[in-house]
Structure formats: structure tokens, C-alpha cells
Amino acid sequence: MCNSPSVEETLFPGAQGLFPPQLALLEAGYKSSGENWVISAPTGSGKTLMAEWAIEQALREGLSAVYLAPLRAIVHEKHIDWEKAYGPEKVGLFTGETRRERAQGRPRKEQVLLMTPEKLSNYLLSWKSNLAWLSRIAVLIVDEAHLLGDCHRGAALETMIGRLQRINPFARIVALSGTLSNAEEIAGWLKAKVYVSDWRPVVLQKKIVRFKSPDQKLDLLAEEAADCVTGGGKMMAFVNSRKRCEQMTLKLIERGFKAEFFHAGLGQAARKSCQKRMKEGAIEVLLSTSALEMGVNFPARKVVIYDSFSFDGESFGPMTVQRFQQCAGRAGRPGYDDKGEVVLFLPIWDPGKIDYLKSPPEPIRSGMFSTDSLLREALAEISGRLSITSEHLETNFASRTLWRIQGGQHRLETVVSSLLESGMIREVQKNCRTYLNETPLGRVATQMAVSPGTINLWSMIYHEWEWLEDFDVLLAGCLSRESTPVLGFNFEEIDGMTDTIMQIPSSILDSSSSRLSKALRQISAKRLLAAVKMAALLHQCTRGDTLDLLAKRYDCYPTDLINLKQNVAWVLSAAERVLQILAKQQAAQNEPEEHGEKEVHAVAAEKCNRLRLMIEYGVPAKSVGLVRVGRIGSKRARLLIAGGVDTLAKLAATNADSIQRILRIRALGAQQILSDAQKILEEEQAEDPFATESTPMPLNKHVASPWRWPFRLDPYRLRRALELSVPHCSEECVHVVGGAEPHTVKIDSDASHRRSYSCDCADFAKGTRQCKHVMRARLELNDDGEILEALRLLQEQNDRPLRYGLSEIWMRVGKLFDRFTGREVDYVGSQFLNRARTKTR
């Protein structure tokens, strides 16, 4: 049926030689069987060909194949290859992550469909209108299937597979991954055959290099690089922060290497040119965060894993074996290198709890263990009419998940009642049965792909604060889960941020911390601080500060800000609908006389709309009306503003000639813009005859001076001191452990028994007399001076408004490692306060 040459022929002319895993699969009847398969075989073992076999089988049957991969980079790469192999008319790319792409059509005649899991998920929720092509799917290929264990995206993939099986039970599932230690379990879930191999095209030689102190790491890295490069190889190093990535690159360049860095903060152009140099072979050493881990290729003989700790967006923790293997797997180019070298840097004090060289990767654990995911997916079931009662939710949905196999027992009733409570679904009685229907609020969540948590957040904020200022709307936007990337907030930023927000009108910033912690109880202190920073940044952005300026001011990357803006704009468009629905509901409940309130609430939705336009199109408040005109985007708006036409009213009042001149467009287009503008202006005035350019704001009574930390000692270091422990202590010296390295604090007493402390840490060397080790030592020796006072202040129930309380919130930020060690952390030093108390008694 398919005339195009098979991929086998095009890619491997004359090669009868298959890689052993490929051969094994052939012999197991993979190519012609209609069964599901779970395949785990290392990086570079040729899984792409296995995907292609499945695709070709589908093509032979005149049906279609869907290929899913988590990263657009991978999907795009395969798209290019397969257009060549199967013909462009047969292959279609449906990624649709950006707003514009979301509007993109659905598959029609294409038979090889490349998508991200989220995109297919979306199609499945409106399965009835997509049935024509969904029913023709012969195989679903899930590449990089370990995504199932991803805490953010795993649940969507898992439920999506289950949904496709219900909508099209004939679709065969083929799951491919390089690192699945529980392939059997996953195969059990999918009723699939399983194939696991550890064959690699190039043998890996792994070693661990220990360092005594972090400042040795650069030398060690240079050594490894020299060793590799002189032998004609290329090296790649993984570090855990973008900043470090850049710094290390500079240092390596200083030492004469042709080094470059690659990370997600790079802009489009920088990324492209880096990739080009990779291809040309102009790079000897490439430093990267995780961006390259999956997908894009930099063939390297040696891979150095420079940091053994990783950052998952919330906290630092020991790197997973999964991640280690994904990095390590990139070492060694088949055909060029006879072996791949993997070097892992570990501190000598690393307890060796994880044996990176020998352990299998962590088993994939269902993403549905997260309550938020569970809520979201249950709601999606109901919205898509895939489950119409609680019983369906159990039988159609929950009982068929990996989550359930792995012991997920969360009662579906609690999920249902939580969705009912938050107004996202409602019960309908019919024929003595209780059906579950989605409500308008629920529809916003599914249609706009925002989580139930976000809808809840907005409705909580709506009910808690009667009046929302611009900043409040932005803050709520930034608190929403979808507003990524979350920008980190450092202790050092507290004072600057306090000054920044001091003058910004905001109901939320004026609320006491007890009110906040009640209203926003699911939000961690760290996330709240990050959101304040992000909101302040966006607030300045709406006041005309450029992204480059803001990126510099807040120490982040313009790419991050572009993404953040896009995501917050998306959240705000969802929020606008949420607020409209809530306002309508409230208006329906209220007595007719209580008119005023209704308008206040409608204002919030209107603010969302205005701020969204400002963020999305980068126009100032008074010019927002311009972009409401369909034919005007950010570019034209900027031209108009530059041309003096900076409001809708002015636009409506000018003539077509000047519009034509300013925008350099045809007369007809200018005429249309003019008449659109006049129509919109008319509508706006009809809606609100008293509309002025800006909404009057209630007065804010701000206290002039911010509250500041009253002690000389640094609360940040104090907090870190509480994380340390003391295994050995004498009057002369205290050993302090628990930080990156152990340290020793020495104590000298003078004649009057006054102690003076010194520490061998870098911080102390820089002149910090009260480094965290010294503080910890003083606490241990009960020589605490003002430390106990400071702790007491921290423990006191403080009810200052948020805008004065950033540092207090900071003190509540969770300890960095506790998520992983599971250790109880005494955030406020209660043990020391209690000890002091007992002593006085």
C-alpha cells in the first residue's frame, strides 16, 4: 500500500545488521503482532527504528500512527526525518503549545501524526468531533515513556493512554524508554508484552571522582576536559544551574578550551547558532543544564556530571539515578568512539546512599499520586463525558490506571466532593440516578487547560478580597500553577522587594499574614515570595519597562520572562472568565438593591482583561483599547502609539488617511480599522456611559516606613544554622555538619571568659563573624547573645501586613533538603527556646 521506500532501506542502505535489541524484537514477532509493547533499552540502542516498524505496519493497513514525545525538539526532529521517509502529505505535526498553535486544526488525511501528550489529551476530551481520525489510529507510540513518572506531566500521559484505549480499543500501544526499571509493572498495566535490554552500541566506562572541597571542581573538570580533548574527543558536562553553566564556560575558555553553554534560558537565536556550531564540530566542551538531556544531540565521548544535586523547581535534592543515566547515556558516539566515558563528581563526604554506578533507575511512579493531578484528570473525565457518574469514574477511569496498580487508593468520592464543593461539577438527578455534569467553572478549567487548583485559587481570592487592584490580579496570576517559569526568590532580594512593593496599591499586600495563610493555605511560603517578585516584575512591565531591563534587574533570562508573560496572559484570560462567572453567580444570589457590589466584582474581570492585553501586547493601560481592535496586534499598536494615536478614542476620532500613513497599510485596511475602532468604542460607551480612562481606586493608607529585621545577626544565616547539627562539642571546638561540608568552629576565651569564635568556612573567611556555623555553635554552647531573642521574635505570632512581612515569610520557607531526607526540620528553633526556658525554671 505504501510506495515510499521503507525507512530501513533509506537509513541503513544494505545493512542486514540490526542492533541486537532490534533483532530480538523482530524475533519476538513485534513487527506483525497487534499486541501492546513496553520496551526499555538504553540510549542509542535504536528505538527509533522500532517506532518506525510500528508506523509502517499502520501504513500498510491504511491506518494511522500517532507518535508522542515529551519535548518539541524531539518531535520536530522526527517530523523532518519522517516527512522525508514517508512523504510530506502523510506526515503531520500537531504540537500546539503556544496560544496560536492551540487554534490549529485537527488531523485529516495525515497518517503519521506527531504530537505532544498534552495535545493528544486535548483532542481526546472532544473525542466525538475527533472520532474520524481517532478511530483510524492503529498504533500509539509513546517515546520517552518515563515521562509517566514526571510529577507534573505524568498523570496527563497516563490518563490519556487510558482514554485512547476506551475511545479506540484497537489502538496498539508501544511505549519506548531508555530507563524503565519497572517495565514489567507498566507492561502489566497496559497488558503489554515487555522487552528489556541493557545492550548499548558503545560500552560505557563509568567512574566517580571525589573532591574535598567545591573549589576543586573546576580544576577537576579542566583535567577531564584536557584528557578528552587531547585524545580528539568531545566532552559534555551537566551542571545544575544556568548561572553556573555560564560561569564555568567562561573559566574553561580562559583555560584555552573551545567551550560553550546551552540551557533553556537561551533565546531562539543563541540556541540556533549554538546548535549550528555543535553540528560543525566547533565545540570541544559543551556545558549544559538539562535542556539537552532528552532530544537534541551533542555527540560526546565523555560526559561529566558535575553536580550530584539537582533542582526540581521547588527544592534541591540528590540527583536521581534516572537523571544520572539519562546524562550518562549520551557518552560515546557509535562508529567514532570505542567507548563512552562517564565521570560523576561527588564530594568525599557523600554518604553514598545512592550507588549511581550500579543501581537501576528509580521505578516510574504514577503522577496521579498528586492530588492536583487527580482532581484535574477526574474533572477532565466528566468534562469530556467520558465518565458520567461516580461509578463511571471508578470503573472507566480510576480502576484502569497505573496509579491504582501502584496502590493509589484515594477515594473517588472525596475527589468528586471536592470538585462539587469548588463548583466545578454539579449533580443532576435523572431516572433515579445521579449524574455528574461540568459547570461553567469546570468548563473554563478544561477548555483553557488550567488546573482545578487555579480555579479554586481565583475563586478564593474573589471571595476573600472585595476589591482587587492591578497588582492583586497580577499576584493571583503569578500564584497560579500554570504561571511558569517560577522565578526563584533569594533572601538577598527581600529589602529591595520590600521597597519596590511599598508604593504599589494592593489589597492582598495590605492583608495580615494570618489572613493570608488562611486564604492561601495551599501555597507555600516560598511560592508566595516568588509570586510577589513575579507580580512586581510584571507590574513594572505593564508600566513600560523592557524585558531586557527587567531581566537584568531581577537576575533572570529574557526567555524566561517571555514565557512567563505568555503563561500569565493565558491564566488571566481564564481568570477573566472565572471572575465573570463568579460575579454572575453572586449577582443572582444578591437582592436587587445590593447593586453596587456586583459592579465591583465585574470590575475584577475587566481588570484581568485589561492586564492580559497589556502583558500580551506590551501596551500601556490607556492604549489597551487599541489592541481590542481585531486587526491591531502589538506591532501596529506600537506604531500607532508612536504616531500619537495612543487611545481607542483617538483612533476612532482620526481619519483613515492617517491610519494608513502610520501603519503603512492599504486604504481599505485602514478604513476597516477605523470602523472597527468606532464600533468598539460605541459598544464600550453603551456598556458603561461613565467610563473613564482608568478606574478610580480606593485610597490606600500606607505606613511610611517598612518593618525591618531589628537584629544585627542575619536571619537567613540563622535559619540555615537551624538546619545544622553538632556531632561533637567541647569548650574549645565545635564540629558542625549538615551543610555542604563539615566545618569546625574554634573558641578562644579571654581572661574575663568572653568567648570569641572563628570558623574555617569560606563565609567566615569573607568576614562574616556570625556565619551559620558560628551561630550553630553558640546555640549549642548556650552562649547565644541575641540569637535567642531573634528566635523568639520569629516564633511570635506576627500579624503584620504582607508588604512589611517578606522577611518573616522567608523564615517559613521550607528547609532545602527536607523533602528528600524526610527529616523533621525545626524551622524556628523551638528546641533551643525550650531549652532556654527549662533552664530559667
Binding site: G34, K128, L131, A132, S135, R136, Q165, R166, I167, N168, P169, F170, K191, R385, L386, S387, I388, E391, H392, T395, N396, S399, R400
Partner: protein, 318 residues
């Protein structure tokens, strides 16, 4: 004496070669049966051709036309509607019902030529117990319409014209077949057997009589969905049958036991599902099939269809 050799016949259609024997699942258009809409895209995975009644096919929108061989019947069952009457003209007869315009052979043929790969001529059903006189009269009209259609079938049309047959015993079958076999039809389609499924002997006699005269061209029997009967009919020389029983049984939560060839209530299925090799049963479970719901019913219908094919030995082997 039985001939166990089942059909080796085939015909070319506008949507490819149709190889017999085959089961043609019935589908409807226009949304009267929601399950049909959901199930339709999957039917072609099993069945080499689909069946639509002229009555429902009229609601078909152009893009809904399955890209698969489609048999459109004549809608002659309208003559059984209450208050319907037959209007005779010189060389053909129409059916007038209380709803809409009369069903005219020309209208049926034109529609079939536009949409169908196979069309059957407009016939008049003869239920069991019809008196001889009346039966003969209706058979006469059926013959008349077949002759009319043969004369008006556009030669360039790729639509295959099947002559509808109506008979109540071997003798009457012999008579109608003798008259129509002389013409250039692409095949024959026997109607009116649904009310006679409880007396399969009668059906076998009728088919025997037809096959005695017409040995070459395909023979279809309308409305047979009982797997055991289908198997028997294939053995008797029938080439194809059609039915919506796999759908109706799914709506009534009845499961086709692939080994016994019987529809049983889902509650009594037990472990049969574990033994069913069909893709649906391999992927989903009894609890799932038992629930009401569009997709739950779809799954059951698809199992029923798969099981019918495997029981009747019709699995596609390409």
C-alpha cells in the same frame, strides 16, 4: 445434503473489490441512533462492506459517506408502515406512506447511483401468513420494479444493482428467480426473511430453490444477525447478510459469546470474556462493558461484531 463449501465469489465496486462471504454491519445516519454514529468509523475494520437502509441513508451528508463499500437497500419495508399504500403505474409501483413523499423506484435508484456501491431494487415485503393472492400480487410488483430498475440503471454508474427477491416457499422462490435471473443483475438480495428466522427450514428451502437456478452471482439475505443462522446460510450458498443486531444487543447489554454464537446478558457472561481473543476484551473488562455510556456501549458493540466475525469464520486475513 449440505454443501459446506462457502462462497468464493467477489465483485468489483467503486470502493474496491468485495470478497464474499461477508457480513455487512448496518449503520444509520441522521442521529436517530447515537451509538451508530460512534460505532460507524470502526465497522470497516471488520467488515468489507456496510449496509444502510435507503430510509436512513437519505440523512447522510456527503462527508459522512464511509470511504468503504456501501450497500443501500430500497427501503421497501416502508410498505409495512401503518397506513401505507401501494400505488401502481404501468411498469412499476411506488409506496405511499403518511410521512413524506412516495417512495418511487426512480428516486431510490437515483439515490443509490449517487451514493451506493450496491443498490437493491424496490421490493414489497410479504410477511408470513399473507394470503396467496396478495403474496403473488406483491411478488409481481417486486418483479416489475426490478425489471424497471434494470432498464433504467445508468450504464456508466459504478453502482452494482442487485435484484430484490421476495418469496414465501421454494415454489415462489423458483418463480421469481427464473424471471429475474435472465437479466443482467450484478447479484440478488432476498428480503422478508426476518419474520421467518424462527423457521429456518423455510429460509433454507427458499435459498435452495434460488441457488438451483442462479449459481454464479452473489446472493444477499437482508436482516440476519443471528450468528448460528448466518453460519448456516453461508453453508447454503448465501454470500452476504446484514444486521444491526450487534448494536441492538449492545444497547441491551447482551454479549455475544464467541464460542457458542449466542447473545447472553452481560451478567451471565462470567469468564467467557477472558477467553475472548478480541481486542476489546483484551483491553477492557466486564465491569467496563456493563456500565451505561456511549463508549461503554461502543466497546460492547465492537466486541459483538468481532465475535460475530470470528464465530462465522469471517476474520480478515490480509
Amino acid at each position: 445434503m449440505r454443501t459446506t463449501a462457502t462462497s468464493t465469489r467477489s465483485i468489483e465496486t467503486g470502493h474496491g473489490r468485495l470478497v464474499f462471504p461477508c457480513f455487512m454491519p448496518v449503520t444509520t445516519f441522521g442521529g436517530a441512533f447515537p451509538l451508530d454514529v460512534v460505532a460507524r468509523p470502526y465497522l470497516s475494520r471488520f467488515a468489507p462492506a456496510l449496509m444502510a437502509s435507503h430510509y436512513y441513508a437519505q440523512s447522510m451528508k456527503k462527508p459522512e459517506r464511509p470511504n468503504h463499500p456501501l450497500f443501500v437497500d430500497s427501503g421497501g419495508f416502508a410498505s409495512l408502515f401503518e397506513g401505507s399504500s401501494v400505488e401502481e403505474h404501468g411498469d412499476m409501483a411506488c409506496i405511499c406512506t403518511k410521512y413524506g413523499k412516495p417512495l418511487h423506484p426512480a428516486e431510490v435508484l437515483t439515490f443509490q447511483q449517487e451514493y451506493a456501491d450496491i443498490g437493491a431494487t424496490l421490493d414489497f415485503l410479504i410477511p408470513p401468513g399473507t394470503d396467496e393472492q396478495e403474496a403473488k400480487h406483491k411478488q409481481g410488483l417486486t418483479i416489475k420494479n426490478a425489471l424497471w430498475a434494470a432498464g433504467h440503471h445508468v450504464v456508466e454508474s459504478s453502482m452494482r444493482l442487485f435484484a430484490s427477491l421476495q418469496a414465501w416457499n421454494a415454489e415462489s422462490a423458483k418463480q421469481i428467480t427464473e424471471k429475474l435471473a435472465a437479466l443482467n443483475f450484478d447479484g440478488f438480495a432476498l428480503g422478508g426473511m426476518v419474520p421467518r428466522v424462527r423457521t429456518p427450514k423455510v429460509i433454507f428451502e427458499i435459498i435452495g430453490a434460488i441457488r438451483e437456478i442462479e449459481t454464479d452471482r452473489p446472493l444477499h439475505v437482508f436482516g440476519i444477525g443471528n450468528p448460528k443462522l448466518i453460519r448456516a446460510l453461508f453453508e447454503q450458498g448465501v454470500d452476504s447478510v446484514d444486521s444491526s443486531s450487534f448494536l441492538q444487543n449492545a444497547v441491551n447489554k447482551r454479549y455475544l459469546d464467541p464460542h457458542r454464537g449466542e447473545f447472553v446478558p452481560l451478567d451471565e457472561v462470567g469468564s467467557a470474556i477472558k477467553a475472548c481473543p478480541c481486542r476489546v476484551c483484551q483491553t477492557l473488562d466486564v465491569e467496563y462493558l456493563r456500565l451505561e455510556g456511549a463508549l461503554n456501549n461502543l466497546a460492547l458493540a465492537l466486541h459483538n461484531l468481532a465475535a460475530l466475525h470470528s464465530y462465522c469464520g469471517l476474520e480478515r486475513t490480509e
